[in-house]
């Protein structure tokens, strides 16, 4: 609420996510098209995807390596229980329309366009964004970059198209940040990846407006495996935002996306995402950044949806004086397990890392902060601060903090601060004594708790996040 009320003078004239309700997000479109796409994973399917996209052979090789590695690797032995995820019931590839990869909303299939309009994406693009990508099931239906940025050499392209149009550039970076065999789900990702974004910002170009991609899963048992590759060249700067949602079916869906970010010397990258998959989605996402000399990476993430989330954005500070900020919010409601956190590996000298994690749990939900700080021998004078705050909204919700710190350099300074608690009865009564009802008072306290993170988001996303939290807060009494 703090975000909404504090801005509401200016906000009415701007784009509003305020009207989006849970039913807008949970409601699917018709899905006759899915009968053309089989469920389950096989080498045939992998080859078929590659053929359908007319990919060069080196991409198919990566896919096949991924598939092999997926079969070799076991599920993680830690974290939430994902044994109910049945790989053979997932549909790994499907298209909602043959009209994909459009440059104009007018060309997008009207039914699909309506979905994105309901989510207010085209409106936001006109008002505040430098470029927009919209993915529906496995493929992008729309991707566009405003001309002023194109003229400066910025590339903002559907990842499938980028492979065709910029093969050398893609090949230079693809899989170099997140290796194929990193873990079972990265391997799966590389086997069946489809869609996603390629963002390339040339040296010294500052993209002042955010670039956004929105990912939507529509059909039941869908899997989405978009690949996002971001390269911010020396001295350049960009802000990339991702929004995600899927309708609710009561039958599992799988999201195993992958994000690779290369932040070159003195460059600055900010990656913001609000992930709001439906509650039957497994969100097993891999995000990683390589940060060079004097470069700065910022991860800002809100995780609200999904039944199970396992997401730990990772930063590898390889250059000297590299910096990273991780800001994360997780909200676990009934039947949700939000296992999120951050991983930072430091190799360069005089690097700084800051991790702020805020988690909320309600209605018996579980949220866990899981973190790894790894300070290598070469990382002289590293400074790392970790701050984890957890707020439990009732007596039967759970919050855990599992921090790991490995440090083999004596000159490093690491602080870890963790707080967990319930909503203060005193504050609640105080707000009520001013005429504010219990539910609104709780929402206000929760928004205040998250304020530090929400205020780093662009206004529209702050409003969206606040709105989503309000939806989760509904019925929070008793």
């Amino acid at each position: 609420m703090s975000g909404i009320t504090s801005q509401d003078e200016t906000f009415e004239t701007k784009v509003s996510f305020q009207d989006i309700s849970r039913s807008d997000l949970d409601r699917p479109n018709p899905q006759d098209y899915v009968k053309h796409f089989k469920k389950g994973l096989s080498e045939d399917l992998v080859r078929q995807i590659s053929k359908d996209k007319n990919e060069p052979s080196w991409i198919l090789d990566i896919r096949l390596q991924g598939l092999k590695s997926f079969h070799e690797k076991s599920l993680p032995a830690w974290g939430p229980d994902i044994s109910q995820l049945h790989f053979d019931t997932i549909r790994y590839f499907s298209k909602g329309s043959d009209k994909t990869h459009q440059k104009s909303w007018d060309e997008v299939d009207p039914k699909i366009k309506a979905t994105f309009e309901r989510l207010k994406i085209p409106e936001a693009e006109r008002a505040v964004l430098a470029g927009v990508g919209a993915q529906y099931e496995s493929e992008n239906v729309y991707h566009n970059l405003k001309k002023e940025w194109e003229d400066q050499g910025v590339i903002f392209e559907d990842f499938d198209i980028a492979i065709q149009k910029y093969p050398e550039l893609v090949r230079k970076y693809f899989t170099r940040c997140v290796p194929i065999a990193d873990h079972k789900f990265s391997a799966l990702h590389y086997a069946v990846f489809s869609g996603g974004t390629f963002l390339y910002v040339p040296e010294e170009v500052e993209v002042t407006q955010p670039l956004q991609a929105y990912f939507r899963m529509n059909s039941m048992n869908q899997g989405q495996f978009e690949h996002t590759l971001i390269v911010i060249e020396k001295g350049a700067k960009a802000h990339y935002i991702e929004g995600c949602s899927a309708p609710k079916y009561g039958s599992e869906s799988l999201h195993a996306g992958c994000v690779e970010v290369f932040v070159e010397q003195q460059a600055q990258a900010r990656y913001s995402s609000v992930e709001n998959w439906s509650k039957d989605t497994y969100n097993l996402n891999t995000k990683r950044a390589l940060v060079k000399d004097r470069a700065k990476m910022e991860w800002i993430g809100g995780n609200l949806g999904s039944g199970v989330t396992m997401l730990y954005p990772c930063s590898i500070l390889i250059g000297d004086y590299a910096r990273v900020d991780h800001l994360g919010v997780a909200f676990a409601n009934t039947d949700q397990n939000q296992d999120t956190g951050a991983k930072v590996t430091i190799l360069g000298k005089n690097c700084r890392a800051s991790i702020i994690s805020k988690s909320l749990s309600k209605g018996g939900g579980t949220s866990t902060y899981r973190g790894l700080i790894d300070i290598k021998k070469s990382a002289d004078h590293a400074i790392v601060n970790v701050e984890c705050d957890a707020l439990m909204l009732d007596d039967h919700s759970v919050s855990d903090t599992i921090p790991h710190i490995h440090c083999v350099n004596d000159t490093a300074s690491v602080t870890h601060e963790a707080k967990a608690g319930k909503i203060s009865a005193d504050i609640l009564l105080y707000l009520e004594s001013r005429g504010i009802d219990e539910e609104s008072a709780k929402a206000m306290i929760v928004n205040g708790f998250l304020d530090e993170i929400v205020k780093t988001l662009p206004l529209e996303y702050a409003v969206e996040l606040n709105r989503l939290i309000e939806l989760e807060m509904e019925g929070s009494i008793g």
Binding site: S433, M444, D451
Partner: protein, 268 residues
């Protein structure tokens, strides 16, 4: 008021708060033991009494704090019973409690808090721009900087600043009846004058009333309550005009306290 007789109409429509024989306890410990108090519009009452006599409890019980159980008696506000109403509903009826130690709230600004409160109290309230403007003026009136609008509520604020924020809230939310629980404690002389000006501004508005708890004679001399009550061991044992204030300050509470019978036992 449809049930009132013509003769009592004028009297009852003036009365904002009527407390009859209120008993209340906290964790099975009786605190209020039959409090009676009537407050009319336009009146300013002070409740005096030694520490632990139940003054703050009275404010919390009127608010409807669940930590206290009202075991007997009636609280009527503006002609309606407060029974069964939640604290926010009592606030919406026009009762305001200023807290002795208000909490600090991370990430919630005074602007957000008061805007949300104002909207809850008045569903027709629209102009947040005007509220923001008047909030700024009120802060200046209390010698508080603009910063207090946007920063986390009461976080890092001194006791004096917190109390002045209570006054800013009172003047902004504009209730019918304000219960000010030691709003003057531990404040400097300039702040005391500012708070007094706030109270005077409020009581001069149409149909308002104030109940004060205070131990400071200097403050009470400035504020000039019209009525004074003495609350001892959960009961109002004397009600008078302002002359009671100077009497108590001169003579203390001793003569009003029950005689200690078992002195020997206590001292051994």
């Amino acid at each position: 008021m449809s049930q009132s007789f013509v003769g009592s109409e004028s009297k009852s429509s003036l009365m904002v708060l009527c407390i009859e024989n209120v008993h209340a306890q906290w964790n099975d410990t009786p605190i209020l033991q039959g409090v009676n108090l009537e407050v009319d519009k336009g009146e300013m009452h002070v409740i005096l009494g030694p520490n632990g006599s139940g003054k703050s409890t009275l404010g919390k019980v009127i608010l409807g704090d669940q930590a206290y159980q009202k075991t007997d008696g009636n609280i009527r506000f503006n002609g309606e019973s407060f029974d069964g109403l939640e604290p926010h509903e009592r606030a919406q009826k026009g009762f305001f409690l200023s807290w002795q130690s208000p909490p600090s709230i991370d990430g919630v600004s005074a602007k957000d808090l008061l805007l949300t409160a104002k909207k809850s109290l008045d569903p027709d309230f629209r102009s947040s721009f005007r509220l923001q403007k008047s909030l700024k003026e009120r802060l200046h009136g209390m010698h508080l900087s603009d910063e207090f609008m946007g920063r986390s509520y009461n976080v890092g604020a001194s006791g004096g600043e917190q109390r002045k924020m209570e006054m800013v809230s009172l003047l902004t939310l504009d209730p019918l009846c304000a219960f000010l629980d030691e709003i003057d404690s531990g404040i400097d002389v300039d702040s005391m004058h500012a708070l007094n000006e706030g109270i005077q501004e409020f009581i001069q508005r149409d149909g308002k009333s104030v109940i004060l708890i205070s131990h400071t004679q200097k403050f009470l001399q400035l504020v000039k309550p019209t009525h004074a009550h003495l609350l001892v061991q959960g009961k109002i044992i004397r009600s008078d005009d302002h002359s009671l204030i100077s009497y108590i300050h001169k003579n203390g509470f001793q003569e009003f306290l029950p005689k200690k019978k078992n002195l020997k036992v206590l001292s051994s």
